[in-house]
């Protein structure tokens, strides 16, 4: 325990582990064993992992140590990584935290997973998340909630809550998450770590279990911006297996981290921050902006007049896409199938059902989906089915897509012209982490937690959350910066400069320090 304690208090990073392994100061196997030991001691309290792949990880680490010359120069050599359980890992159970996929073992790897492993990273496990990435608190996992390392009775945020908790608890220095409406940034903020949602298309979605395809994006969660940049270098880039992946060239994102932000213009949408933001959160954000200003950045007011519609637009668009994407779970090709049994159809279900519903096949579909999906997934499928149905499509779905255009134009305007800004700043979450159970009975209240994060998904713009303070009760607060399309370099430069001047990312949560 002593050596483990020393390692954690020193605060390992992706870069320090990589450099140690590369210099043969530590073997990949040692690093891997230490990560697995931390899972064993901490995860019973956190429940950050759905699956731990100890043997597989140790075998890979041993291979790196054995064939060292081949691996030495890989950018993530020996770095232990946790992967959200909605990305396919060949031969390793991938559940999306759903009963529907509880025993699903994919026959292929997600591109992001393949690239991590090719870069020398060692996957130690698959992290807990909200079922099919639907939620804001990680309470929608079919396997039970994740606990926030800073306060075990609080939510870690969602949906990549296990990934954020694993990094915050120093279990691994890096995790992959996915972000459809804030699912990387919000848990990163609530757990006091860095979370980056890259530009839509920057990272291939091949092998990512789809929720809302026009919004989903994979990205890194780490403790430093430098580490997030190291990871983005590896996972970014075009992929012939994802037609929406972007052909844009991938720069070395770490080269952009110069600390020099003189002349950078940061937009502040003050009108947006006036309502519903916890006073300690807004104070931390304003102090963070002063810090960036003292490094030479200029703060300017920006208007985002349609931002107030982002939540309703998001929940109409995302549920519509989800109802379509999740139609594939029908008990035929993979995943759960309900055994034939007693049916308890709701009153009225029978007479309004299409003809296949009366067949044995139709019954199997409906019962498989009834028993395989949890309540939030059913709620969103129902909402999405309704807004896409005849007679309501124009009123809700089409209208939401039009307002999406207006939100996009607000951002384009802020990022262009003589008054153009380089980034837009706001809180990641309007409040610090709330208590487990506090909002479960009120889905609408839960959706409002995403008020500052969904716009980056609707617009496709890159956004990062970086630790910027603690509330009086010791819970972390995050600053969100949104950047220009495909300008992760500029965005990360600002976030890194901020980290250089602050120490919010350094303290370890009580569960680590003991």
């Amino acid at each position: 325990m002593t050596s483990d304690r020393m390692t954690t208090s020193a605060g390992i990073t992706v870069r320090s582990v990589r450099d140690d392994v590369r210099a043969r100061a530590r073997s990949a196997s040692d690093v891997c064993r230490a990560a697995l030991a931390r899972i064993e001691s901490l995860d019973p309290h956190l429940h950050a992992f759905n699956t731990v792949v100890g043997e597989r990880a140790l075998a890979r680490a041993a291979e790196i140590d054995r064939d060292f010359d081949r691996w030495r120069d890989r950018p993530l050599v020996g770095v232990p990584v946790a992967v959200k359980d909605n990305m396919c890992t060949r031969g390793v159970r991938t559940t999306a935290s759903s009963r529907m996929l509880e025993h699903y073992v994919p026959p292929y790897d997600a591109t992001a997973v393949e690239r991590l492993e090719a870069a020398g990273a060692v996957i130690v496990g698959k992290t807990n998340c909200d079922e099919f990435s639907m939620g804001s608190s990680n309470e929608n996992s079919a396997f039970g909630p994740v606990h926030n390392p800073w306060a075990l009775d609080r939510i870690p945020g969602g949906t990549s809550g296990g990934s954020a908790a694993a990094v915050a608890a120093r279990i691994t220095p890096l995790a992959l998450g996915s972000d459809t409406g804030g699912s990387i940034r919000q848990p990163a903020s609530l757990c006091g770590v860095v979370g980056l949602k890259p530009t839509y298309g920057r990272v291939s979605r091949y092998g990512l279990i789809a929720f809302a395809s026009s919004l989903d994006q994979i990205g890194p969660i780490a403790r430093t911006v430098d580490d997030a940049a190291l990871a983005l270098n590896v996972i970014a880039g075009a992929d012939p297996r994802d037609a929406t992946s972007a052909p844009e060239a991938v720069p070395d994102f770490t080269a952009a981290l110069t600390g020099d932000v003189r002349g950078a213009r940061i937009g502040v949408p003050r009108a947006l921050l006036e309502h519903g933001v916890d006073v300690q959160v807004s104070r931390a954000i304003m102090t963070a902006l002063d810090t960036l200003a003292s490094r030479g950045a200029t703060l300017v007011d920006v208007q985002l007049p349609h931002a107030e519609y982002a939540i309703p637009v998001y929940y109409l668009v995302a549920t519509a896409e989800a109802s379509s994407n999740l139609a594939r779970y029908d008990g035929v090709r993979y995943g759960f199938r309900a055994a034939p049994g007693a049916s308890h159809p709701a009153p009225g279900t029978q007479h309004s059902a299409p003809s296949t519903q009366h067949s044995a096949l139709g019954t199997m579909y409906a019962q498989t989906r009834a028993r395989g999906f949890g309540p939030e997934v059913k709620r969103r499928i129902m909402l999405g089915t309704y807004v896409l149905s005849a007679g309501y499509y124009d009123a809700y779905y089409l209208k939401a897509q039009q307002v999406r255009t207006l939100i996009l134009r607000d951002y384009e305007q802020a990022f262009s012209g003589a008054d153009a800004v380089d980034a837009i700043a706001m809180p990641t979450s309007p409040t610090p982490a709330f208590k487990i159970g506090e909002r479960v009975d009120d889905p609408l209240q839960m959706y409002l937690a995403d008020v500052f994060t969904v716009s980056a998904n609707l617009t496709g713009l890159p956004a990062v959350s970086v630790p910027c303070g603690f509330a009086d009760n010791g819970l972390p607060i995050g600053l969100q910066l949104t950047g220009r399309r495909f300008d992760e370099a500029g965005l990360l430069r600002l976030a890194d400069a901020y980290q250089r001047d602050t120490e919010w990312w350094k303290p370890a949560p009580p569960i680590v320090t003991g």
Binding site: G201, S245, P247, R333, G335, A346, R369, L383, G460
Partner: protein, 99 residues
């Protein structure tokens, strides 16, 4: 738009979504879907005259790839994760469709 859905409306949506709901779920969703849509009503107040819809934010597609044979999953591997695979025949098996 009613602020609460009727049971028949919920049943009709569930049928379209191929979801069997129990009576408690019907009651719950009638109320919650009504609440969420009442909140979403605000987007209908926005003037969107002449505004095109955004379905995708992809700005530039990668060039089309050549249409040629490439390696893919072996058929047996693809069907072996099925709940009821017919490995010998290379099929997915499903319950009776007709009757």
């Amino acid at each position: 738009m009613p602020s609460e859905f009727s049971r028949d409306q919920i049943a009709a949506i569930a049928a379209l979504a191929r979801l069997e709901l129990d009576p408690a779920e019907v009651e719950l969703f009638a109320r919650q879907l009504g609440d969420i849509l009442a909140y979403a009503e605000q987007v209908r107040r926005v003037d969107t005259t002449g505004v095109p819809p955004t379905a995708s934010v992809v700005t530039r597609h990668a060039t089309d790839r050549a249409d040629e044979l490439r390696p893919s999953l072996d058929r047996d591997v693809a069907i072996e994760s099925a709940p009821d695979p017919a490995l010998d025949a290379g099929f997915f098996k499903v319950p009776r469709v007709i009757g």
